[in-house]
Amino acid sequence: RAVSIPRREKDFQGMLEYKRQDELKLVKNLILELKPRGVAVNLIPGLPAYILFMCLRHADYVNDDEKVRTLLASTINCIKKILKKRGDDFETVSFWLANTCRFLHCLKQYSGDEVFMKHNSARQNEHCLSNFDLAEYRQVISDLAIQIYQQLIKCMENILQAMIVSGMLEHETIQGVSGVKPTGLRKRTSSIADEGMYTLESILRQLGAFHSTMCQHGTDPELIKQVVKQQFYIIGAVTLNNLLLRKDMCSWSKGMQIRYNVSQLEEWLRDKNLMACGAKETLEPLIQAAQLLQVKKKTDEDAEAICSMCHALTTAQIVKVLNLYTPVNEFEERVSVSFIRTIQTRLRGRCESPQLLMDTKVIYPVTFPFNPSALALETIQIPSSLNLGFLVRV
């Protein structure tokens, strides 16, 4: 009976040998059947990407271009397939975005191009691909990562969409300020106000869940920043659009509530060390609309102050907020028609789009900055839970 003698790690070369006929089994078990919520929770971040790359390294090592080609094609198609099947599941999409990026980084880090080798250890440099230049495949994988990113944004948007109006505009947390409803306005949200209404807290919790899932999957920090910026853009745009369409949201007290909510979102960014990712800046139109609800709107000086303050809002948006503005008590007044005319005259010279509502579907262009890994491929072990017993460590 054969006795297997464990090899020392330094004897491994960081490759995984597999038979051509096992390629389907490999992508099926590793991509299609891997549950991010189950087995994958305990894996080292990016493990599927490292495994696939170590298989690729072996195909390169034996100089089998056909094996390299079909492994890459099977991997790409299988990732697309799982995203088609479970594309509405944030965890699945986040998991494969992180792994696709890691695979892309491996293709660069071990390409042999000096520009990508600067941070490699001597041993990592020995592990570079020896026979094939896969630069063209890197472009294809990068295109795939863009598709997955866009899917992640859609997925996230679907979840947030239901929470934004309720949590950012309707739900009131500041006691005593917004207790008085604008005169003559019915509370539009009375039916859901008390039961199962989303609050700012729900939004913050959801942002926290997205963030911790991405961290757990080993998503590149630079990519997380881009996702968060996009999340904040959606929150800001949806909130502002609803404010622009609802008279009951255009009052001094709503301005106060919105500013408080924005400060909580900023606090969340600070807590996650994400203040410099550009997310806060995407809220600028909403912040200015909230300020507009709170400033004095009577004299020429007020008009001048508003025009210089509201640079992130279009004229159409400023005028709309002023028209919708509704006093909450006897100490306030409606905005006069002549004041609005003054504002329009002052802003006439502006070069801008006449659009009233923000485009909530805009997606900022994504980039995947190179992020090499210090992990030594020869130390990677494959957990038996992945059902990849047919791979041989080389």
């Binding site: 389907l24 992508v27 099926k28 299609l32 271009d65 390299v68 080609r69 079909t70 890459l72 094609a73 099977s74 790409i76 198609n77 299988c78 697309k80 397939k81 042999g112 691909l129 020896s130 026979n131 094939f132 230049d133 896969l134 630069a135 063209e136 495949y137 472009q139 294809v140 295109d143 795939l144 598709q147």
Partner: protein, 31 residues
């Protein structure tokens, strides 16, 4: 002394769309 590395052979890659059309293993009964 080590021999200088051989130049790597650049593999031509199909685009994502072409790859989908190739249907590498999407025949009946495949995963």
């Amino acid at each position: 002394l080590r021999a200088p590395p051989r130049p790597r052979v650049r593999l031509k890659a199909p685009t994502l769309a072409e790859m989908e059309e190739m249907n590498v293993w999407e025949e009946e009964g495949s995963p």
